[in-house]
């Protein structure tokens, strides 16, 4: 790897910690970001000559802080001095070099920086955009591409989100245990949103959006390094790794969805699966199951099966039942019905989901799954109706195309009834 590539990687790895510490000093997102940018420019000049510093994040914090203080001093010649609390910690800046990055201050800094992005006033899409811009340091253009909007629209979205954060009360005091765990839960949910933005993308959107999955995994790893005993983050990271491990197998060359049963398991990433399984092992020792962990355990059972027929559906059914108790939702029951169909047949699965019809009537997957059970039961007319309804509700062309293959098969079957019967 060239020097410049190494420096680029080191800067982006140090970014969350550096921006988070600068936010604590300056208590303003824009100032913290500008200070970090300044420090990066200086790093690009200095590191190729002098070699990389032993602790890149500490170097960037120190240099960034000095640069921003200089800037504030220059401005103060023409405008009134800022309040003292706007520039805290003006003591001997050299001493900060000695500060250890694994100190609890820094852990809470990074958590705070992420928590700021989860401001409850911000809609989910703004939370994600803000986190990707500020914490991950993706460019506005990269984020805009991932969200399939124009640069200008994304710029505006981020500016608006920053404005809301600035007007809100950013909590700068060190959090207590309860607050810390609340922040942790909010941040975990936001990281999973980032992941799902990438994971739920269609085949042809994958190249632009799947980096969001990598970014979410990177953030979860960062948090787990800082807070190594949080089972919630172990579960979330395991869940994301086990889902993302299937990435290369989830879409065919035309960008069409490939169902789990039909995926080429050789394309799954063994490395990500191994890491996910190791994290589940760790999380289990805490005997404090959280929903992410149960979801990860379900993904692990799929990942462990060498062939689709090796899947342990009994255990998956039990885990979904656990999840139904932890966070009751019709969607979880719908997912559970897939295991029930494998274990006890399509009629049992259909009986399980029929009561959900009112709640899930406008949900694409409900009609798709229901159609599949009806088809297995030989109720072709009903199946066709369900598939038609699913296509009408599809959010993406890939979803619609997937259902259409079911329909095509149905039509083919009904036009050549004898051959279909013979195949049985």
């Amino acid at each position: 790897m060239t020097d410049i590539a190494w420096i680029h990687n080191a800067l982006s790895a140090a970014r969350p910690q550096a921006v988070a510490a600068l936010l604590r000093y300056f208590r303003d997102l824009d100032t913290a970001e500008e200070a970090f940018q300044d420090a990066c420019l200086r790093a690009l000049k200095s590191w190729p000559k002098n070699g990389p510093p032993r602790d890149p994040a500490a170097w960037l914090i120190f240099v960034g802080r000095n640069a921003a203080i200089d800037q504030v001093r220059k401005q103060s010649r023409t405008t009134a001095l800022p309040d003292d609390d706007k520039i805290s910690d003006l003591d001997d800046a050299e001493a900060s070099m000695a500060e250890r990055l694994d100190g609890s201050d820094y852990r809470d800094d990074v958590l705070r920086l992420l928590f700021v992005c989860c401001h409850p006033d911000l809609p989910a899409t703004q939370q994600i955009a803000l986190a990707l811009r500020i914490v991950s340091g993706l460019s506005v253009n990269q984020i805009a591409r991932a969200f399939l909007v124009s640069d200008a629209a994304m710029e505006q979205r981020i500016t608006r989100a920053k404005g809301r954060v600035a007007r809100g009360n950013v909590p700068f005091e060190a959090p207590g245990a309860v607050e810390r765990s609340e922040r942790f839960a909010a941040v975990a949910a936001m990281i999973y949103l980032v992941f799902n933005e990438g994971y739920s993308a269609d085949g042809d959107e994958q190249p632009a959006r799947s980096p969001l999955c990598d970014e979410a995994i990177r953030l979860a790893r960062l948090l787990l390094r800082l807070f190594p005993t949080e089972p919630e983050m172990m579960g979330l990271l395991a869940l994301m790794l086990l889902q993302h491990a299937r990435r290369a197998a989830r879409f065919d060359a035309e960008g069409q969805v490939v169902l789990l049963d039909d995926q080429d398991r050789k394309l799954w990433s063994g490395k990500m699966i191994a890491e996910g399984l190791a994290l589940i092992d760790k999380a289990l020792r805490h005997r404090r199951p959280v929903p992410y962990q149960v979801q990860a355990a379900i993904a692990a059972l799929h990942a462990r099966a060498q062939r689709p027929e090796d899947t342990d559906w009994t255990e998956i059914d039990i885990l979904y039942a656990t999840l139904e108790v932890m966070q009751p939702s019709p969607v979880i029951t719908l997912n559970r019905s897939v295991a029930v169909a494998k274990l006890r047949g399509p009629q049992a699965a259909l009986d399980m989901i029929e009561p959900l019809a009112a709640k899930l009537d406008s949900y694409f997957n409900f009609h798709g799954v229901r159609g599949a059970y009806l088809l297995q039961l030989g109720r072709k007319g009903d199946a066709r109706e369900a598939f038609d309804r699913a296509i009408a509700l599809a959010r993406t062309p890939a979803e619609a195309a997937h259902i259409r293959t079911h329909l095509d098969r149905l039509i083919a079957d009904s036009t050549t009834p004898k051959r279909a019967a013979a195949q049985k």
Binding site: M1, D214, M234
Partner: protein, 122 residues
């Protein structure tokens, strides 16, 4: 003389490598490894999973303490390692516990899952 060569790097950087970057590094390392293997100089090679997957068993009086995360004490030094093939983290912890009982006092055992392993360089 047998030497163990221990690899250190900044994990925040290496775990953020894209698949292409990672493959490129591994490809270059494999070339070095191939040369050593042909000379009959290479023993077992392992790449470990990230420290976030690590668990540490710390010796302490009667019952050792199990801590999430990697070994973090700078005043102790790496003195050796075992590689064990077991079914679960609990089993690995059990073995570490036996080791701690056989060699009481201070110290820790970090249990790190292995991601890539070559028995004799292949």
């Amino acid at each position: 003389m047998l030497y163990a060569i221990l690899c250190y790097n900044e994990e925040a950087i290496t775990s953020a490598w894209s698949k292409e970057e990672d493959d490129a590094v591994m490809g270059r390392l494999m070339k070095v490894q191939d040369g050593l293997r042909q000379q009959g100089k290479l023993g077992p090679v392992a790449r470990l999973l990230p420290t976030t997957a690590a668990t540490t068993l710390r010796k302490s009086g009667e019952a050792p303490i199990v801590i999430d995360g990697p070994f973090a004490e700078t005043k102790e030094q790496l003195l050796g390692f075992y590689m064990v093939d077991v079914g679960s983290l609990d089993e690995a912890l059990g073995i570490a516990n036996d080791l701690a009982t056989a060699n009481p006092g201070v110290g820790s055992y970090e249990i790190r899952p292995v991601s890539i392993f070559f028995q004799n360089g292949t």
